[in-house]
């Protein structure tokens, strides 16, 4: 944990300063996770503020320190779901809907590992965002948490409140859906 449980208890007791410290400790991590989950840099802060606001109003339900981080992740995941649903920005695009130029650029980005300038990174981001936009919000968030955030199945068990086997099945299916769209994109070209 990035903070002592005592600090969380103080925040729970209404200590604004303590809550500020908790937010400051987790802010960077949460901003990064949200950024990768929603893929829209301009809305990341807004969603993060929503997460910490939900944390503030639900702190009194926290009983043990062990569950704090999984719980914060759950709040983050839920806020991202809400954002993705509300924004309706998710296009029904599949890989085949990406322009030829986009795919060519993405291909170049993937082929030139040594090139790490910002434009290459942007192309990779666009490509993955395009792939993730072709599946449901649930699939997108689930895959990002596992494949991009690198969370273990144990950690995800706590966040989602389901057992490891169920998670494996859901992850497998989500991955298959992304692969199907990826394959379709290849065939199209």
């Amino acid at each position: 944990m990035l903070v002592e449980f005592e600090l969380i208890q103080k925040a729970r007791g209404g200590d604004g300063g303590a809550f500020n410290q908790v937010v400051t400790a987790y802010r960077r991590r949460i901003l990064g996770t949200i950024s990768r989950l929603i893929g829209r840099p301009e809305d990341v802060e807004d969603v993060a503020q929503e997460v910490f606001m939900r944390l503030y109003f639900s702190l009194d339900q926290l009983r043990t320190p062990e569950v704090f981080e999984p719980w914060l992740y759950r709040l983050t995941v839920n806020a991202c779901y809400d954002y993705l649903r509300k924004s309706k920005r998710r296009r029904e695009s599949r890989m085949s809907d990406l322009s030829e130029q986009q795919v060519t650029l993405a291909d170049a980005a993937a082929g030139s590992k040594a090139q790490t300038d910002e434009s290459e990174k942007r192309r990779t981001r666009d490509l993955v965002n395009g792939l993730l936009a072709s599946v449901s919000e649930e699939d997108r968030v689930l895959l990002t948490m596992k494949e991009v955030e690198g969370l273990s199945l144990k950690e995800m068990e706590k966040i989602y409140g389901v057992n490891e086997n169920a998670l494996k099945v859901r992850l497998f299916r989500a991955r298959q859906r992304v692969l199907k769209n990826m394959k379709r994109g290849n065939e199209f070209l």
């Binding site: 960077r28 840099p41 990779t124 792939l131 991955r175 394959k183 070209l189």
Partner: protein, 118 residues
């Protein structure tokens, strides 16, 4: 790593491996966003706004509950007073009818004979 190849002949295994590599590359390509200076003030503004909306909601709920309770009490009182009123003459016409009930009765034979005698 090759992604988006144009021949489309990649096997499922290759495609799966490409996807894994792509996720790793995505992680590296995503910048770590830094919070703006307004992050904390805006967050607290949202918290305060929600606090006041919650208080307003509670007040509204209390008012609605009080209104329902008052309606029930008034309704009960009105029903009780109506029941009591049924035992007494209701309006002016009913009072008149009660006072002149005998006059309004149909003529009986006894009354006709009395009239003939007169």
């Amino acid at each position: 790593m090759r992604i988006g190849t144009t021949n489309g002949n990649g096997t499922d295994g290759e495609l799966d491996a490409r996807l894994s590599e792509l996720f790793v590359a995505y992680r590296a390509a995503c910048p770590e966003p830094a919070a703006s200076v307004n992050f904390m003030p805006e967050m607290w503004a949202k918290i305060e706004a929600r606090k006041s909306s919650t208080m307003f909601g509670r007040l509204a709920k209390a008012l609605v509950t009080a209104a329902i309770a008052a309606s029930l009490i008034l309704g009960t009182l009105a029903a009780t007073s109506n029941n009591q009123g049924k035992n007494e003459p209701g309006n002016y016409l009913e009072v008149l009818a009660a006072e002149h009930a005998s006059a309004l009765e149909p003529l009986s034979l006894e009354r006709v004979s009395l009239m003939e005698q007169q």
